[in-house]
Assembly symmetry: D2
Homo-oligomer: 306 residues x 4
């Protein structure tokens, strides 16, 4: 019998990071009576020479998380918020370059979109929150290379036809009937990694990139005649890789939001794919990465957002 | 000393109601390759001659909650879902008129809106969930009179200027500085009661009424130069009463989603109403009813939705 | 055809209230190295002569919600927190008696319980949050009479046998099979109203009353052989009325957390009430008031907590 | 300027997995009138030869997620639920050994604990949900090696003294005053990896291991005089490594649930560490791995639970 444990060996510190999470910053930019709003939730995570604070409690290398919060608000004034990605780049660069013990900074941002309310009065400073998806950005910097991963979550989509599911494996626990016309619905959680990694190269246009990537994933979802949610997922990722040169990797986590046709026969009624129950749990969960051929996969298997 | 308690007196049953809550029904209507979707969450609540089931456990008067669930799905097929309100009227009438022990039915409905995804292919059966507000409807019927209360929740709005707050009472616990240009933001929860109460009168156009009422409340929020959130609330309600003859009562619950200007002076920066922290808790909570003069207030003080 | 609407009539203000909601206050009391903790979420709601702030925006009668927040924290120091109810009584009395325009104050409190962590070191100042239920208290004062309603929410209970459901009404939409041994589970939300209403009478012992009422409702749930959840609910309420003289009214909202036996026959297995699926939605919802005979029902039909 | 993008390269499939998430299974074991309950939320995730279903939509290698759900319920009958870990091992082994295209199975389980309700009647089949923490288990099997990671989340703990924070880095954005007696509170999310990896070795006693590990982390939290949350975190991990031979790696994610002393001076009161505001956002977030020396770190940087 092999022995794998080593109880005599003591504990040591492994990977660690710290910072202030969920700094809610709203930036109003006034162009006369026309206002613009950026509404972010910013989380800072720093790593580096942090052994001492763990082993002895010495904070000599620790920039307080409260300071990282202050920096978020100060930078909103100093740099403005052109895009979530650009704002994160300013922050990450600052922490790594201004604090010797900090070797890596990761900034995570949620962005909430606002539309304008139409009014009869002059000026444009009334807004209604666009509740659809939450936009995401993660910026990581180690003093040399950048990694930018953008994405979204909570985008709920549905095709009410053009979806089938049959020809699958049947074992002794299989009872599912095959389906030749079903609803396909999911709540998209997606992340995409940019191939921009160093300051010597020109940055992507982050706002345009987001808008176009979102459009491609929505259209691929809608235009794919689906034989499985896996196939639809792959088409969504491939469409982005094919159309957006700045992106090398996409990962999706797609819960299959089941819509089951209700059996109305006990009531003498025929349900011709008209009446569905929208189920909560359990749900199929389909997750995959789509890569530009030859590129490295770096987005973690399990997506997280804060 | 007055004596108010009567410990010798036994327990008796008071108001009671029961039913199946949160039946998630999705109805697809196919007009060739163009599909239409109605997505509801329906809760049924029945009252009547229900003493025995409470006192002895006899279910002789009890239509099972499972049956009320089945009825929701069967009616989606039998009647379709023209509007949440009309669907609730069908259900409430059925329970009260078909079951002798049931004297009152209350149907509560949440409705989730879907937009179409633009595609290049033929047909129109791809949708993205409009995440903004949740539409609400409550239909109550006692066999004679109807009460219909519609509404919405989770509609987040913001004015980035044209809001002040000053001239208030100052006591020994008051530290708040007066504000002459602040952000005013809230998450609107509103309910409005229709004056349609009997079958002899023509029903309102429920879909048009919702759309117009929502428009008026948004515009009143945006167009009111605000000296307090109470004033804005009243204007939102009065605008609806003035423009929608079918509505006699409106109630709003408006949390003041505080956006505090960040003090940037410690960093040598001036915050000219540009950078705000969006706070979570605590929050001001402003609640009020606006009535058509002479009409009775029937919407409860505390709004609930399921 | 009757005419019920009066479009010509203008809008007027109805019931209204305002205050700061969800003030999170933690009070540490130090008895040497032994510490005690009270952890509350306090919401203040004030009513009175508030027409002007709604009609014209004049804040001359408005004590700012920020001040009500400050008062919560100051009173935690000045009076301590003996119990949620007693703390709410101090607050409500203060607002009504110190501010002429305020005619009614309602204080709502959530309380989170903490247990001690056993340690080998001296002192007792380490705690783990008892996550079971949230305790609730609502104190209302109009300058003359008190109304105190206490309660709890989120208390999940289950009987794995001694529950049946049969003998119910069957209509054309009924498909449910009768059950002679089922799981009965619910998430208790309860409120109970005290008959203490004026300062001339001695207050109940709020802490003991809560502890005993909670015990009685748990035991009544466990000890009732159930023929319907309505019957169990009534027994829970009646047990409280019978044992607690200080309480005249109880209301429960009990979602029937369905546990359905899984059909294992397709897999050649017999499910002898062993394996259940715990369902989310929909759920039966049973709500009722139990009163001391002759007492007035004052707890609203729909329970709310903040 | 370096060129890093390769727009001409096509999309390819990367890591992928699928299965049914959040299967809610409740198992009642009857020992006469004494019942025992296991209450789990089980998520299945399978990987293997799944290229075709992504590229072409062929489901020839796909065991339906519905079948994985059925298997969970059937196995609860066939094997019982001795512990979450043992149950996951049965499931993972089944999927990998019975389905040729499946090369790896990962089972994730949440477990909800129940206590007994004390009653005067015979039998023991009434329960109240212990709401404190949620227990977690993750079992991964590739046909050769096992990886078992257990853990918990939502365990809220607090020390009301014996915590300081000073001696930290001060830059131009630092405004935080040093603290020499503060509240330290966090909501523990922890994961620990077992060194049991192959069937030839004897399995740990999963239930006892959980109970002891939880005890050690609680005591280390309570007994560490804290100079920083990082130090406390390390002590919690090291205590587990030192006392539990079966565990080689621990990772914690500890939000610093800030409790700020309220400034009562404007009201003429002194706050001697008695009255605190419990803040929501933002919060410090401290994350780290503690390893047995020489062992590999395998728990991902970002903890996820379903």
């Amino acid at each position: 019998m092999a022995v794998h444990s080593h109880p005599a060996r003591p504990a040591v510190l492994g990977q660690n990071q710290y910072g202030k999470a969920e700094n809610r910053v709203v930036k109003i930019t006034r162009d006369g009576a026309t206002h613009h709003v950026k509404d972010l939730n910013v989380s800072v995570s720093l790593s580096g020479a942090m052994e001492e604070v763990h082993y002895s409690g010495s904070n000599a290398h620790v920039l307080p998380t409260d300071t990282t919060k202050n920096t978020v608000y100060a930078f909103a004034k100093e740099y403005g918020i052109e895009s979530a990605e650009q704002f994160g780049i300013h922050l990450a660069r600052h922490f790594v370059t201004s604090q010797e013990p900090i070797h890596r900074a990761r900034i995570r941002i949620e962005e909430y979109a606002w539309d304008r309310i139409e009014t009869s009065r002059e000026g444009a400073h009334s807004f209604v929150r666009e509740g659809r998806e939450t936009r995401l950005a993660q910026i990581t910097y180690d003093g040399e290379k950048w990694e930018v991963v953008s994405g979204l979550k909570d985008l709920v989509v549905m095709n009410s036809t053009d979806s089938e599911f049959w020809g699958y494996v049947k074992d002794k626990y299989t009872t599912l009937p095959e389906a030749y016309d079903r609803i396909l619905a999911t709540e998209v959680s997606g992340r995409w990694r940019f191939n921009w990694t160093d300051d010597a190269r020109e940055m992507p246009d982050w706002e345009k990139s987001y808008e176009q990537t979102r459009k491609h994933l929505l259209q691929a979802f809608a235009e794919t005649y689906s034989l499985s949610l896996q196939q639809t997922l792959y088409q969504m990722g491939a469409r982005i890789i094919d159309h957006r040169d700045e992106i090398d990797e996409v990962r999706f986590s797609l819960p299959n939001k089941h819509h089951f046709p209700v059996d109305l026969e006990p009531f003498g009624l025929k349900n011709d794919n008209e009446v569905y129950v929208a189920a909560d749990r359990p749900y199929g969960l389909i997750e995959a990465t789509v890569l530009r051929d030859g590129c490295e996969a770096r987005i973690p298997v399990d997506l997280t957002d804060l």
